[in-house]
């Protein structure tokens, strides 16, 4: 492989590594596992490139999804969920890196497809055209689905019971 190919791959790697890591974290909940998946996805990409294959974000995203599916099969937690990945219906669970439990709770009530497009737009910072290409849908459809997912999230969030109001420092002292 010549230097130009390595340079091209390096640029592709630097441009997409954090995105794939973010997307992996959104699916497997465990950052260490997500890092392994990301690493393996780029190993596969490099092999693909060496065989003359074209590298693109949608292709790489698809590899990541399949590796996530494999991880679920490996973990033996849910064969059913793994097959959803095979059928391209991830993500699987809301990741647990933040402590915003009301938000987590609302997200868990959404359909996988709604969660996925929210992750793509707000976590992974994918553009409309990028989401459209990855999901093989039109940009108009992206906006429709994103709007619908946002509305559902807002509805679930507003219907969720309010979290307990934090005690003021005075109340906390009074209650011992």
């Amino acid at each position: 492989m010549d230097d130009a190919a390595a340079a091209e791959f390096s640029a592709f790697y630097r441009q997409n590594h954090n995105l794939i890591l973010l997307a992996s974290i959104g699916r497997v909940r465990d950052r260490h596992t997500a890092e392994d998946i990301t690493s393996e996805a780029f190993h596969i990409a490099w092999r693909h490139r060496q065989r003359g294959g074209e590298l693109s974000l949608p292709w790489l995203y698809g590899v990541m999804r399949n590796l996530v599916g494999k991880e679920y099969r490996r973990s033996a937690r849910s064969r059913r969920l793994a097959e959803r990945v095979i059928a391209f219906e991830p993500p699987l669970e809301f990741p647990a890196e933040s402590d915003d439990e009301p938000l987590h709770s609302a997200m868990r009530k959404l359909r996988p497809g709604d969660r996925e497009i929210l992750f793509m737009a707000y976590w992974e910072e994918l553009t409309g055209p990028e989401i459209a290409e990855i999901l093989s849908i039109s940009q108009e459809n992206v906006w429709v689905r994103l709007s619908r997912a946002r509305a559902k999230l807002r509805r679930e969030f507003e219907q969720a019971p309010l979290p307990p109001t934090p005690l003021t420092s005075t109340e906390a002292v009074a209650n011992g």
Binding site: F9, N18, G53, S75, R77, D100
Partner: protein, 326 residues
């Protein structure tokens, strides 16, 4: 962006954005990926075949993992399990299923908190034309106690089909691949701690409730539900009979005949192609004498544009082993 959208965006992993600098690990990975490419590429160019980079061996050792090329052109034994062969039975399907059910109910309960199985799944790489590899399944043991504490151990199985290419490494059979330990109440499970039901109607409701199956669920969905259930429970004879009786009355379920599972055990194969418009064939292989579930397998028959694998091909199988671990 309104408040909720901002809140959602803030919930993502700290400090990680698309254009943030790469972590040390990411930088090291890049070096590792590119590290030995010139030598590898000369070999690849010489014989037209891909060889795995040394740096990828750790990932490759994760096994099971084996992609397929064109199953019509490449020797099947080189990459994937061969297609199951069925020998039709003379009796009608309902007669066979009834006999399996009776045989199952005659079996005593086998109280056990250990589940053991051999598992393998294909890896799908979109657009890949890879001609790797070898089939090395995993040996999975799940141990769970009454407090829902336990561990899941995964070891490398033996090479079943094909052989590693030059420069490629398979794991030593028995090599420990992963072990996860769970404290009380932490063991991952899909089903409640109470025993599964022993009659068909209740079994159907049980699967519906615990797996979210609704009125649109197909027989294939229930096949997969049974597989999930068997992965968590060593089913008693009565519970197995309930499974068989439940499947027996579902549209699209057929008795394909006798076959040998991936461990060479002879059983009766129940099949359905009811999922995704016939894109998948779900198979359950049952011991003819005891009704016990031996194997679950999913084959891809083609028809889904997002799956680029040649077809038909085996996607995954699980072969349960009843022998308790040491």
């Amino acid at each position: 962006m309104d408040d909720l959208e901002r809140r959602f965006a803030l919930a993502r992993p700290k400090g990680l954005t698309r254009d943030a600098p790469l972590s040390d690990r990411a930088e090291a990975d890049l070096v590792s990926i590119l590290g030995d490419s010139p030598k590898r590429d000369r070999r690849a160019a010489a014989d037209g075949r891909w060889r795995w980079p040394a740096a990828a061996l750790a990932a490759a050792a994760a096994l099971s993992v084996l992609a397929v090329v064109n199953i019509g052109q490449v020797p099947v034994a080189a990459a994937v399990p061969p297609a199951l062969e069925f020998v039709p039975l003379a009796a009608a399907d309902h007669e066979v299923l009834a006999e399996l059910s009776v045989n199952a109910r005659e079996q005593a309960a086998l109280p056990s908190t250990a589940i053991r199985y051999e598992s393998w799944s294909v890896t799908i790489v979109p657009g890949s034309d890879t001609s790797e590899l070898f089939v090395q399944p995993e040996e999975v043991t799940l141990l769970r106690d009454s407090r829902d504490a336990g561990e899941i151990t995964v070891r490398a199985g033996g090479l079943r089909w094909g052989a590693p290419a030059d420069g490629q490494r398979s794991a030593e059979p028995g090599e420990l691949l992963r072990r996860s330990t769970y404290q009380a109440g932490e063991f991952p499970r899909l089903f409640p701690a109470d025993e599964p039901p022993v009659n068909a109607a209740e079994m159907r409701v049980y699967l519906q409730q615990n797996l979210g199956l609704d009125a649109t669920a197909t027989a294939g969905d229930y096949f997969n539900g049974v597989r999930d259930l068997r992965n968590e429970w060593s089913l008693s004879g009565a519970q197995t009979a309930a499974v068989i009786e439940m499947l027996a009355v579902m549209p699209g379920v057929q008795v394909a005949g006798t076959t040998q599972d991936r461990l060479g055990r002879t059983g009766v194969a129940l099949v359905t192609t009811s999922r995704s418009g016939g894109a998948f064939r779900d198979v359950l292989i049952v011991d003819a004498d005891t009704g016990a579930l031996l194997t679950s397998e999913v084959d891809y028959l083609g028809g889904l544009p997002e799956i680029t694998l040649p077809f038909p091909t085996v996607l995954t199988y699980i072969a349960w082993k009843d022998t308790p671990p040491e």
